[in-house]
Amino acid sequence: MAEKTINVTLKVWRQPARGAQGRFETYQAKRIPTDASFLEMLDIVNNGLERNNQDPIAFDHDCREGICGSCGAVVNGRPHGPRRATTLCQLHMREFKDGDTIVIEPWRANGFPVIKDLIVDRAAFDRIIQTGGFISVRTGQAPEAHSTPVPLKNAEEAMDAAECIGCGACVAACPNASASLFTAAKIAQLCKLPQGHPERTRRVLHMVRTMDKEGFGSCSKQYECEAACPKEIKVSNITVMNREYLRALLKADA
């Protein structure tokens, strides 16, 4: 079947290792089918590099369905590229024109050191979750699920926040490299549910403290995070986090 193809020029950040000097390399990506995904375009380029015994471009990826949160790169200055509410793996080459130059960089943030090429270390997100992003119920302790009804509105709002895939685009988009949207999404999810209430004070204090300690900046309300988020997590979650934080500071048992 005849398929539409385009030729594009890539300028890709290549960095051999953590802390090493990096630079942009230029590659010609030829005859790329417009139905290919952005990562499939990188696969095609990498297969060419492998055939020439060159080190392929390293990038994190896994599900290629927009849910695992592994992939991500800044494409022409925008995390996950030009299409709204789309992870890099779900971006398709039909978004680009023949002859385009595409600049591809890793997330850049103090909290996310570059490991190689487009791969960054996002372990700080796990450490934020470790300080409170859960409900402390041991296996076997749970009561019957219907013993606590949850109003539909709360359940829906909790689900809206819970959709976060932990990709880090919010940090990459923020001029302060703040992790506020990521952290707030988990805090908001759990405080909307009655099951999350017993630990809410401790949770917000610990998670916010860890976020600061990991080298992420503060939120200065630029809203770039929401614009970049592939799951459209709302900045209103940050308002919830700030309210929870204030509430926690005022409580004596903190």
Binding site: R51, C68, H92, D126, F134, A142, L152, L193
Partner: protein, 636 residues
């Protein structure tokens, strides 16, 4: 030799009695035991967290940067539980019955009943963890019917149920990691199982960032490393999902059971080009409202909206009036293949069928359909650039799940003492076909509620392992792993790793896919060793072993697929019957349905490794059905 250790007594009392008969580890002694858990999907994360909560010391190994990225995250549709919240006649026994029948009578009754019993506890646990399941206005949990069930027992969180369940288990794991009771080993790929004196006592793995080969010892090893669907290259699995951990354990003596039971999911986005890296599943919940059809006339090139009702062939509704579009996955997939093979398929390749929401939108309104499937419709449009609200979706079956896996007994322990296998990586609960919304149920049942209890029996009986990291067997395993890795990196041929993987995948899809024949399987069995030979001569593995090297990672996995594929086809050739996802064209009813041979094949086939290229030895575990009568499955 193959003792499944199924407890005595009536089916509903087996698990309860068994728990009482198991030996326990004293709470104060649990700290003395170290357990390795490989994988952090639903089974692995829930097991690691639960074992740690009980007091065991746990090490958790995973290939991703974070445990939250395991492929369970991609499950869309839902999780079954016999809560009977809809008052529609559901029960533990009905879920058990449906699952045994859905598995085409090739699963173990006792395991399936336990699974159905535990399903209700899973929902309680997940709600308590803050999993935001769908709810009704009154605040109570919502259910839908799913994948061939005639009751509404499926719990869901929009189209992201796997994600939300995994984030619940991940949260529990993070809680235990913060306590220091679980040690996390990110970006590690297990490359070998260490076995000393017929006991699994550790693993070797590669640190994917530094390239270091590490050996870790423990008192027991738990594998929760998922399925092997990616042996077909194109599947709905995530790119990193692989067979390596279970295959290497098999090479160390663990039996591999029923590898030919592979599930082909009926509703995936069709293949569209040779650059394609994976296939995308569209949740089968879409079949609740979408109607599947092809044009009645072959080569009808009219656009679907120009084809009148009389020229549309709603083949599932016509052939299976009582289940219609909701027949189980194997039946739906096989029928899609049949109509396409007859020349009625649609789309540019002719290898697709329509999934049409026109009538549902007319009946319920666009808003209602959007509320139910909005995110799935968006995903479809993003990939295909077509709007499913106005143009019918095109779908085709794709490899999705593998029911086969390492053989385990009722305690989820393999034939190798100390090696436990959970979730998709084992073989036990789904028989020859898995029903929708049952994989999440099994992963969490195994991890939260089975292994935390049964592993204690092994530890209490066997005591601590005496194998320490300086044991010669540990050193040998690490050295062998290093040598194999070095050998792969030394391959500087002309062909890429992906080329070999695609070629292998094409052989398997053609010869060991939705329909299989003895002649085709024999052909595959002749070609796979040749391809494996070529791989070790001609593949080009760029880069060095001592750093992050994604080509090397893929090469190791493809090398294992090239060995495993032979076992897959051997099993498919030996099973001279059709059952569930294993359809042998020679064995079908006059209506074209799967024809089992219960006289000769009512057993689980557990294969013992004899060497690469050598014929494996077959061990049979007879399957006994005391509750559910063996019948021809019918969804008419």
């Amino acid at each position: 030799m193959l003792d499944a250790r199924i407890p005595d007594g009536p089916i509903a009392e087996k698990w309860g009695r068994h728990k009482f008969n198991l030996k326990l580890v004293n709470p104060a002694n649990k700290r003395k035991y170290h357990i390795i858990v490989v994988g952090t999907g639903l089974a692995g994360a829930s097991a690691a967290a639960s074992l740690s909560e009980m007091g065991y010391r746990v090490s958790s190994f995973f290939i991703h940067d974070s445990p939250r990225r395991a492929h369970s995250i991609a499950a869309q549709g839902g999780i079954n539980a016999a809560k009977n919240y809809q008052n529609d006649g559901d029960s533990v026994y009905r879920l058990f019955y449906d699952t045994v029948k859905g598995g085409d009578f090739r699963a173990r009754e006792a395991n399936v009943h336990r699974l159905a019993e535990l399903s209700v506890n899973i929902i309680d646990q997940c709600v308590a963890q803050g999993v935001p399941f769908a709810r009704e206005y009154g605040g109570y949990l919502a259910n839908r019917s799913f994948g061939g069930a005639q009751v509404a027992r499926t719990f869901y969180a929009r189209g992201q149920t796997g994600q939300q369940l995994l984030l619940g288990a991940y949260g529990a794991l993070m809680k235990e990691a913060a306590r220091g009771s679980v040690k996390l080993y990110p970006r590690r790929e297990m490359l070998d199982l260490i076995v000393v004196d017929n006991r699994a006592t550790g693993i070797t793995c590669r640190n994917l960032l530094t390239g270091d080969i590490e050996a870790h010892t423990a008192d027991a090893v738990v594998l929760a490393t998922g399925g092997y669907g990616n042996v077909y290259y194109l599947s709905t699995n995530a790119k990193a999902s692989n067979v390596t951990a279970t295959w290497r354990a098999h090479k160390r003596g663990a039996f591999f059971a029923n590898p030919c039971y592979t599930q082909i999911h009926p509703t995936c986005i069709p293949v569209h080009g040779d650059y394609q890296s994976k296939l995308t599943l569209m949740s089968e919940s879409l079949r609740n409202d979408g109607r599947i059809w092809v044009p009645r006339k072959k080569d009808d090139k009219r656009s679907p909206d120009q084809i009148p009702e009389s020229d549309r062939y709603y083949y599932l509704e016509e052939k299976y009036p009582s289940f219609g579009n909701l027949v189980p996955r194997d039946v739906a997939s096989r029928n899609a293949k049949a109509v396409c093979d007859e020349g009625s398929g649609v789309g540019s390749t002719g290898m697709a069928v329509y999934l049409d929401f026109r009538d549902a939108i007319q009946r319920d309104g666009k808003a209602a359909i959007e509320a139910r499937y909005g995110n799935l419709f968006e995903m479809y449009e993003r990939i295909t650039a077509q709007n499913p609200y106005t143009v019918p979706m095109m779908i085709y079956p794709a490899i999705h799940y593998t029911m086969g896996g390492l053989w385990v007994d009722y305690n989820l322990m393999s034939n190798l003492p100390g090696l436990h296998v959970l979730g998709e990586a084992n073989f036990s609960d789904h028989g020859a076909n898995r029903l929708g919304a049952s994989a999440l149920m099994q992963g969490l049942a195994d991890g939260y509620f089975v292994i935390p209890i049964t592993i204690g029996d092994f530890l209490a009986r066997s005591g601590p392992s005496k194998v320490k990291p300086d044991h010669p067997a540990v050193q040998d395993a690490a050295r062998e792993t290093r040598e194999r890795t070095d050998r792969l990196v030394g391959l500087k041929g002309k062909r890429t790793v992906d080329e070999f993987h695609r070629e292998l995948g094409q052989i398997l899809w053609d010869k060991c896919g939705m329909a299989r024949t003895a002649a085709g399987l024999k052909d595959a069995l002749a070609r796979i060793p040749e391809l494996r030979e070529q791989f070790w001569q001609e593949v080009n593995v760029v880069g060095s072993p001592g750093s992050l090297n994604q080509v090397l990672e893929r090469a190791g996995r493809v090398a294992d697929y090239l060995e495993f594929a032979e076992l897959l086809c051997t099993d498919a050739l030996h099973r001279e019957e059709s059952c569930g996802g294993h359809f042998r064209e020679e064995y079908q009813t006059p209506e074209g349905e799967a024809q089992r041979n219960d006289e000769a094949f009512c057993y689980a086939a557990a294969w013992e490794f004899q060497g690469v290229g050598a014929a494996p030895v077959l061990h049979k575990e007879p399957l006994e059905f005391h509750e559910v009568h063996l019948t021809q499955r019918s969804y008419k």
